[in-house]
Every structure is written in structure tokens, then in C-alpha cells.
Subunit: 217 residues, 2 copies
DNA sequence: TAGATTGTTAATCGATTAACAATC
DNA sequence: TAGATTGTTAATCGATTAACAATC
């Protein structure tokens, strides 16, 4: 068993993204009572190549059995470990405007083991409240509160103009993963990972393809 | 002026995504009163390569002036035209649960010229209501209503288990662009473009990098 | 004209896929 | 053992970057 060895190559981010997609599939297979699955079967589900599935997994270890495939439950456990899903993560949310409030009420985070543990806003009217179970603090207090609670992940839902300043605070507080809903490019040190959820960009991309279809027909 | 010519090469989706990022930048530059900008200046803003900026633009025409760069206003107009942003798009929203309701109240769509024109749910208690200005219909009526109103874009916010059935209805109704919030891979004909907004996958990716940072330190 | 920057071709890089020896 | 499928190397493909003639 070499599953604990460190990856020898730089791992492409797309491979990581695919791991969580494989994981979702394994959960379904396990629910169906499927005990083992081949890379070909996994690949078929997403229109991927079986070599890619094997390669993605091989970045992290040898999880398969030649001639048989992968044991569903065992692989699921390994992927959960690799992705860091064996622990519940506490997440800070910054910005309680239209979008931030929606996210605070969204149950998707909790369902997936990510607990919104603290919210921040610059509106004195909101500071001190509790929304659901989540306490609301002044943005000025990001650094001490996140440090004390050892929060390592944050969601940014402030206007684009304020996003970089907020990011700098989060970075200073030791955060190393940010889910960014602000429509702007954040500048962060290398140790920090940012995932942009830019609805604006996605809508414009869709608009392009729709326009194109309209022209073509 | 060859700006209207059809693209000769297949255009990578990433290039389209970058176009809308350039557009955002041009809006800022225009607000600052900057009349012209070089590919190098644009590239610097995002840590991209200037050749890439030029190449992305060149897929669609010759918009620059040698020795000078690109006229801000002119390029902005061209990008808006290419992306299909000169018209307001009507968008259908399917699913009024926790997430769908949040999206209905989210002002980001309207702000960007995408108008939520109709919502659909399978809960009889919601059907017939108006939320804000948006009428709520039964999901069974997707096809006739979208056809009649010629709606070409849709947002899916239903549970994963229902997403494919909803998609099939949208496709039958003539939709050709889908923003999918359901955590599942949708199968669609080639003419239809899907953008997945998979918070679950993004959170897991962040979890991976956070775990890794934690291990490294 | 001299300097600057485009548009485009060629070189490089990285990711995907094919192929196959190892082995269950 | 025979058949199947992994893990991994080599080949392919596509996207990014460098380089430079064209030209404002």
C-alpha cells in the first residue's frame, strides 16, 4: 500500500475537480450496492477517458486491483481522505447584502460538511445580530476572530470594489481557501487558493453561445 | 474592417470567458477616461500574456491599431456585440426551493441585462404566485410557456434527482443555454450550452488545498 | 521617419489519450 | 490458466507563449 505517499508530480487542478466528481459517483454506486467499479465504467458516466480516470487516481496512490477495478467503498474512503472531507470545516462569510444573505440561508454548505461559523458585514445595523445560528461581526474584526477560531476557509460576497481589501484581511488572518462571488480578480499569495464563482462571466458566456445559435439558425 | 467575418478556427471556451473579463476591464478603463489600451496593459491586469489577449480578440476580427493598441470604447462595443449583450435576455428559473428562491431575489441577473421572466416549481402551493414581478408556473408547463415567450436561457435550481428531466423539458422548449446549479452532470444535445455552478465541487476542491496547506505547515 | 504595437506564424508547454507490460 | 483491468510510459492533441514582419 503506497496510498499515503506524496504525489511526485504537480497535480493539475482539473484532476482535483474530477476527484470530487468521481466521489459523487461512488456515493451513488455504493447506494446501489455496487461493490467494485472499473475505470471504464466510471469514465462512461461522464464521457471521460478511462486512462484519465486511472491517471487522476494514480497521482495519489494505487487504489485499484488489476483485472477487477476499484472497490467502491475503499475508493470512496480514499477520495474523502485526499480531499480533506473527513473533517468538518468552519467557514467565514463576508458580506451580508443581497447575495450574502442568500448564502447564509442556503443549506448546501451545511449539507456538505462546511459550517458557516461567522459572518461579517460593515453595516452597524447588522453587526451583533445572529442569523440562524450564525453570529454577525464587524468586518474590522476579521483578523482576531478568524485567528482565534482557526477558520481557514472563507466566502466573499461583498461588492467588487471592497473585495480586495476583504481578501487582504482574510489572508492576514491565515485563511488559505476563498470562495469568491465578487466579480473581480483577487490578488493573493501563492499559498492561498481562490475559486471564483463569477455569475456575471458565466451569464455572458451563455449569452455568447445563445447569440451564436440564434445566428446559425 | 474585417470585424464581421466568421471565425475560421474553433474558438476555445476559455477564450470566450476571457472576453467577458476583458470587457469588465474596459468598462473600468472607460470610466477612468482612458481612450486606448494595449494588449500588454490589458494582460498585466490579470497576469495573462499579451499574445493571448491579442489572439483571443483576433478570433473575432481586427480591432486594434498597430503602434497604438485598442480604442477602449470601440473594443468595448465590439465585445458586447460578440457576446450578445446588446439585447436583454429573458431567463427562466426552474426550482423554487432554498437556492432557487435566493436566486429569484438576487439582483445580479437583472443588473447584467438578464431578466428572470418566468419561474417554475412542482409545489402546488407556489404555482400561481408572483414573487417580485416573476410569475410562478407548474413545471409541467415549461414547454408551452417557454416556446410562446421565446425564452432561450434557463437556470436550473432543482434537486440533482430531478435535473435531467427538467433539462429534457428545457431542451424540448428550444432553450440553448443552461446555468445549472444542480450537483449533477446533465446530458444535452450539442447545440445546447451548459454552465455548471457546482458549489459542492468547488468546496471540495478548496478543502483539498486547505488540507494540503495544513499538512505542509 | 523612429518607436510602438498589432496580427499571425512557429515553438513550447501541459494535459489528454493510446498502448501495453504487469498482475489480479 | 485465461480474461480483465490496472498503473505507467509514450504519442497526440490543444492551448499558451515567443517571435517577428506588417504597419500605424
Amino acid at each position: 500500500m503506497k496510498s499515503q505517499r506524496l504525489a511526485r508530480h504537480r497535480i493539475p487542478e482539473r484532476a482535483i475537480t474530477r476527484l470530487s466528481i468521481y466521489l459523487r459517483c461512488l456515493e451513488e454506486l455504493l447506494a446501489d450496492g455496487t461493490l467494485a467499479v472499473s475505470s471504464q465504467q466510471l469514465a462512461n458516466r461522464f464521457g471521460l477517458n478511462s486512462a484519465q480516470v486511472r491517471k487522476d487516481l494514480a497521482y495519489f496512490g494505487q487504489f485499484g486491483v488489476r483485472g477487477l477495478g476499484y472497490y467502491t467503498g475503499e475508493l470512496k474512503g480514499n477520495l474523502e481522505r485526499i480531499l480533506g472531507l473527513t473533517q468538518q470545516w468552519e467557514v467565514a462569510l463576508v458580506g451580508l447584502g443581497n447575495l450574502g444573505s442568500a448564502l447564509l440561508n442556503y443549506r448546501g454548505f451545511q449539507q456538505r460538511g462546511f459550517r458557516l461559523a461567522a459572518a461579517f458585514d460593515n453595516d452597524a445595523g447588522k453587526v451583533g445580530m445572529r442569523i440562524g445560528r450564525v453570529p454577525v461581526f464587524d468586518v474590522e474584526r476579521i483578523v482576531p476572530i478568524l485567528k482565534r477560531r482557526r477558520i481557514k476557509m472563507a466566502v466573499i460576497a461583498v461588492p467588487a470594489a471592497a473585495a480586495q481589501a476583504v481578501t487582504d484581511q482574510l489572508v492576514a488572518a491565515g485563511v488559505n481557501a476563498i470562495l469568491n462571488f465578487a466579480p473581480t480578480q483577487l490578488s493573493v499569495p501563492k499559498r492561498v487558493k481562490v475559486q471564483n464563482v463569477d455569475l456575471s462571466v458565466m451569464l455572458k458566456t451563455l449569452s455568447f453561445y445563445t447569440t451564436r445559435s440564434a445566428r446559425a439558425s
